[in-house]
Amino acid sequence: MTTRADMADDLALSSVSPTKTYVVEAHVDDPTACLSELPGRLEATEDVFLFRLVTAEGSYWVDQLDERFWRFHTDMRNADALPMLRDWVGGRRDLDWMWLPSEHLRHVWPNAVSRRVRTDFRGGGLVGGDAPARDMRVQLFGENAERLLDLISAVPEYSSAVSFEGVEAEIADANFGRVREGVTRTGRFAVSGDSLELHLQFVNTVVERYKRLVELCEAQAINWQCASDEGGGTVTGAPIVIRFKREIEDVGAFADELTSSREPFRLWGQTSVKRDVAEVEAVDLHVGQTLQMDITRSWMRIYLSAGSCGNTVARLISNLQHRFDGALSLRDPKIDTAARQPLGIGV
């Protein structure tokens, strides 16, 4: 019978063909049934949380030990492994990726030596044409490669355009070994080295930090509670406020662009603008849930309803960092800490 030890034996962590881990966020009632929809042969293992999915392209190890954030491990090439998962996640309203805030990549592991960092800012339809850095993509290769980006971030005109897209770092642990990890902001990992255990710990650390952000957003969700059949009740929760470091030139155009149903935001919306405030009735097409927003020139208010997924807010934060303001902050200090503080500080 197959066990987790077999998974460890199977995954090579080769520098030539690195092992990949894809993290999928799931809200499903029957996790096994959900997996069985995937093309290929789903094999149970001795571990009830662990499955092996064999497809024409290769095999995945699916670990559902974390009921909400499933891990798909494989040695397949990304070009072979990702399309099936992407179609599956994109076709269901109860699955999503992780959307890591920029700071989660900037400080991905305590004392990690970064070897390669990449930022990707594409202001496109949200940033005005006169902005000093409308688009900015930087890739640095070398030890502690992020230091130049720290310098750029310190320049006020450019700080909004620094947004981490991916990082590659070397991690060593006396008890486990050494791995070289590449991770992108949508929770896709590539790893080579000599310790699957260290890789799994690395993924756990990234996921747990992200999960905290998502759960804090959900704790803020607005919840109307009825007191009795005669009417009356109360409301708990509050909107989540994002503060921008750069100013929105035209709130109506900004809201229209944001809610154009296109990737990466995938928000549909109707906007009305009064006194330079855009009031938006939106739908998050990733999950099929309604969402309200107020947008002014310097801040945005997001109304997340009880029962909605905090991933919606995390995705919005991450995408706004890459499309409008990499230096944005959250007004709620707990959520701001979860999204922006370096690992190990207040997290």
């Binding site: 990449r118 897209e165 896709r188 009740g233 109360t234 990737e263 739908v283």
Partner: protein
């Protein structure tokens, strides 16, 4: 936000932590005790629009939120006859200190309606404090009649608002159908995304009005009726997507969803969503620049499929109109 809902939304915003609006009432020790609370006193029953409670003193503030300038004298008198203990029981307020609860009534209105509301209360022989709201300030008038706890909130003068209040109450039973319509359309688009084939008017009203259950039966009926009007208008404007069936003697009214963009291939899905509600959604366009990445490392390996598919790798993903 409708101006008539500015007072109640501002009041609620003063209770919110970490919002743009300063949480003056929350900082003063007040918490939300309830909304639309039915309570009975010696003069009869009244529905309290908003109930504030002070955890340290067990003091209750019974707020009548006026969306207009007129007051109902009978209602105002009933407020004054409510006993704090009866309100505690009606609103299920949890008292955490062993102190008899106390209560005061406060009227809440737009600043422009202060004179009329004040006159109405005076005619009824009532000296309730009045909280007034404008776009930039919240003030307490007739402060000498207010409790010490409430006066303390305004001890430094009016509370300055740093932006519009949160839209906690999007609309109510007296709102125009045009105000409700965008919200109803959003609920229908969400249903499309979830591949639902129909929604009853009750379900539509509940989804469009998060606070629906707080209202009494009469108000719920009015909201349901207006949501139905909005749904019928939307179906008339988007006949290829929605079909409205009115309530009959034997069947609850419903909206059928005739097609969903989810049935389209990825490329066409975005355009199909963009088309929903287009009649009322003027768009602005901007020129954008497409950038192609070219990486040769671990991260590039992770990106190869994304860049080819346009999953967020290009400005518009190579789809949709601009």
């Amino acid at each position: 936000m409708e101006e008539r809902l500015l007072p109640i939304n501002t009041l609620l915003s003063l209770l919110l932590p970490n919002d743009v609006t300063p949480p003056a009432l929350a900082n003063g020790g007040f918490r939300l005790g309830g909304l639309e609370i039915p309570a009975a006193g010696a003069a009869g029953a009244v529905t309290i629009d908003c109930l504030l409670s002070h955890a340290d003193t067990n003091h209750l503030v019974l707020v009548e939120a006026k969306s207009g300038p007129n007051i109902e004298e009978e209602q105002a008198v009933k407020y004054g006859q409510l006993h704090a203990s009866a309100v505690v029981q009606s609103a299920y307020v949890t008292l955490s200190v062993r102190t008899p609860p106390t209560a005061e009534t406060v009227y809440l209105c737009l600043g422009t309606h202060l004179e009329r509301v004040g006159l109405g209360l005076a005619n009824a022989g009532l000296g309730y404090p009045i909280m007034t709201v404008s776009e930039s300030l919240v003030s307490l008038e007739r402060a000498s009649a207010a409790s010490a706890g409430l006066r303390a909130v305004f001890a430094d003068g009016p509370v300055s608002l740093l932006g519009p209040p949160a839209r906690m109450i999007l609309f109510d039973q007296d709102s125009d159908v045009e105000v409700i319509k965008p919200r109803v359309l959003a609920v229908l688009v969400a249903a499309m995304a979830q591949r639902l084939t129909q929604l009853t008017l009750v379900s539509l009203a509940e989804r469009a009005t998060p606070h629906f259950a707080l209202y009494g039966r009469q108000a719920q009926q009015k909201i349901k009726s207006k949501v139905g009007h909005a749904a019928r208008q939307i179906a008339n404007e988007e006949p290829s997507s929605f079909h409205y069936l009115p309530t009959t003697g034997s069947r609850e009214g419903l909206v059928k969803i005739l097609r969903t963009p989810e049935d389209n291939a990825f490329q066409g899905r975005t355009q199909a969503y963009q088309a929903v509600g287009r009649a009322t959604k003027p768009r602005k366009t901007r020129k954008t620049v497409e950038v192609v990445a070219n990486q040769m490392d671990l991260l590039a390996e992770l990106d190869t499929v994304d860049n080819a598919s346009g999953d967020g790798a290009t400005l518009d993903g190579g789809e949709g109109e601009r």
